[in-house]
């Protein structure tokens, strides 16, 4: 019978990471549209720039992380830890790939999205991958 524990610290950390992933591109280190910068088409329509689309994608990833952390908090068993570990590590990889490869940020090097948002998301992504790896490696909850 798998051992269970009332509160999972990795679960809380995943929850926090998820919240940070959402808040970072909109409030903590906001992307360019926070400063009123958009792509303007020939017809005069305003569209978000690459960093704006990245921020939207990161919001989705953040929600997934929050759900993952919540599942672990609800049921801290060996099987759950393994599954949430793999899942959160994968989300962490996506958190990093989204602003770098999949969607990207503004190309200009001195834009705030490149100077602050991108490194902020990279760090949260790395932390998430480490937490996920820990959950997979140490499947037995601490006594």
């Amino acid at each position: 019978m798998p051992s269970e524990q009332p509160v999972s610290l990795p679960g809380i950390l995943l929850l926090l990471c998820g919240i940070l992933v959402i808040l970072t591109p909109w409030y903590i280190f906001p992307v360019c549209e926070h400063y009123g910068n958009y792509v303007v088409t020939q017809t005069g329509m305003q569209l978000p720039m690459a960093c704006g689309w990245t921020a939207r994608a990161e919001t989705g990833l953040g929600i997934l992380l929050i759900v993952t952390g919540g599942i672990l908090l609800a049921r801290n068993s060996e099987e759950t830890r393994r599954a949430t570990g793999i899942f959160s590590a994968a989300i962490g990889v996506l958190v990093i790939l989204t602003p770098t490869v999949l969607i990207g940020m503004c190309k200009a090097a001195d834009h705030p999205c490149r100077l602050l948002t991108l490194p902020g998301l990279e760090i949260i992504g790395i932390v998430t991958i480490v937490i996920g790896g820990y959950l997979v490696w140490k499947r037995e909850p601490d006594a």
């Binding site: 303007v40 200009a108 001195d110 100077l115 490194p119 902020g120 760090i123 790395i126």
Partner: protein, 405 residues
């Protein structure tokens, strides 16, 4: 020869540290702060130095001669890439080129554009070169023979957006990106766009019709003269002679730029080094007191170990091993965390401090890590040594009797 295996020492030390997690984490965190501060200071200083060297080596110049009233703008343009537009009398160029000790001289025009190449980007620095005298871009073109700089062709710095082959418009004039320089960390190079002087004049002539604001480049004027000093000549002496013969000019030298960068870094570096040293100075006696308390708390345990066959050196080394493991763990955590943030936010830090910056070479990073590791570990050993020796020399029999073991 040590009579006992090290593995036993590490096992006991590890178990003792795990037994008091709060204390272990608190002490490790203190050393993490020390190591992080030390490493950060050294990383920033080596990175700034490296970037300055990369950038100036890329430019190939020992001196940059600018109008005296624009010396600060010129330095800023190099160090931070802040766009600027200024000129002085072209006649100075011929005079400078003839001065003894000047191996080569290359005139350049510095033009700040109206907008960046994409929406919401700020102005960027356009640098127009004379292909006949230039030794900055020419040397790079020699290294990259597939790149030709023809009419309206530009070579962009590494931080300028746009693919090779695509177009950029400045003052309404269309330029084609022919090549991209490698990253140097020096904004004056990385955020610059190099064009030919004749194309710059064409752009200026057309700007009245095509651009939002007319650009005027007075004929016969240049913004700066890059000077390469003859081998064996002293750049300081040559710059003095230049300023003598061409009044109203100022020489920006490698040493001068280094001084400016050091000055800008001084506050941050002092803060980091200062905090590392202050925390260390406070931590050593504090840790010494903690070590005395721990030794006293574990008198019974050490008496048992001695009774079972542990020598005095084993007991002493056990305490020291605990200290080393603790300080190493803390220092590694501090260095790792600092490195993560420095690498991730490096560009932002450089722009905030207005310094050139690039990742230092691996050897420099390893040296910084080594120094940042050594100070905490040595501090920990110093703090623990006296209590460790005292407890190892304690009479186990007396303790056994008192503790009722």
């Amino acid at each position: 020869m040590r009579e006992y295996p090290l593995s036993g020492l590490f096992m006991l030390a590890d178990r003792n540290l795990r037994n008091r997690p709060a204390r272990t984490i608190a002490v490790a965190a203190t050393f993490a702060v020390i190591a992080a501060s030390l490493f950060s200071a050294q990383y920033l200083m080596s990175g700034a130095r490296q970037s300055l060297d990369n950038g100036l080596n890329r430019m190939g110049a020992d001196l940059m001669i600018v109008p005296a009233e624009y010396a600060t703008s010129g330095e800023d343009a190099l160090l931070t890439g802040r766009p600027t537009t200024f000129f002085f009398q072209d006649g100075g160029f011929e005079t400078i080129a003839d001065i003894p000790g000047v191996a080569r001289a290359s005139p350049e025009l510095f033009i700040g554009t109206l907008y960046g190449q994409a929406c919401c980007a700020g102005p960027i620095q356009l640098i127009a070169i004379d292909p006949a005298h230039d030794f900055t871009i020419s040397s790079w073109l020699k290294e990259n023979p597939s790149v030709i700089m023809g009419k309206d062709d530009i070579i962009v710095g590494s931080a300028i957006a746009g693919d090779i082959g695509s177009d950029l418009r400045f003052y309404g004039h269309t330029f084609h990106i022919a090549g991209r320089l490698d990253r140097t960390g020096l904004s004056g190079v990385d955020m610059a766009v190099f064009t030919r002087i004749e194309d710059a004049y064409t752009m200026a002539d057309e700007s009245g019709i095509k651009a939002a604001r007319k650009l005027s480049i007075p004929k016969g004027m240049v913004s700066a003269v890059l000077v390469r000093v003859s081998p064996g000549s002293d750049p300081q002496t040559v710059s003095g002679e230049i300023m003598n013969r061409v009044p109203g000019t100022k020489a920006i030298s490698r040493a001068g730029l280094s001084g400016t960068v050091s000055e800008r870094l001084k506050t941050t570096a002092s803060l980091l080094y200062g905090s590392a040293l202050v925390v260390t100075a406070v931590t050593i006696p504090l840790l010494g007191c903690v070590a005395v308390l721990i030794a006293s708390e574990r008198r019974r345990e050490t008496a048992i170990l001695r009774g079972l066959g542990a020598s005095q050196s084993f007991v002493r080394n056990l305490f020291i091993t605990e200290s080393v493991l603790l300080t190493l763990a803390g220092a590694c955590t501090g260095i790792g965390t600092a490195a993560l943030f420095l690498v991730a936010f490096g560009d932002f830090i450089a722009i905030s401090l207005k310094i050139p910056f690039t990742m230092p070479p691996a050897g420099s990073i390893l040296t910084s890590m080594g120094v940042a590791l050594c100070l905490p570990v040595i501090s920990g050993i110093i703090a623990t040594l006296y209590p460790a020796v005292q407890v190892s020399r304690a009479d186990p029999y007396t303790v056994i009797r008192e503790a009722g073991i």
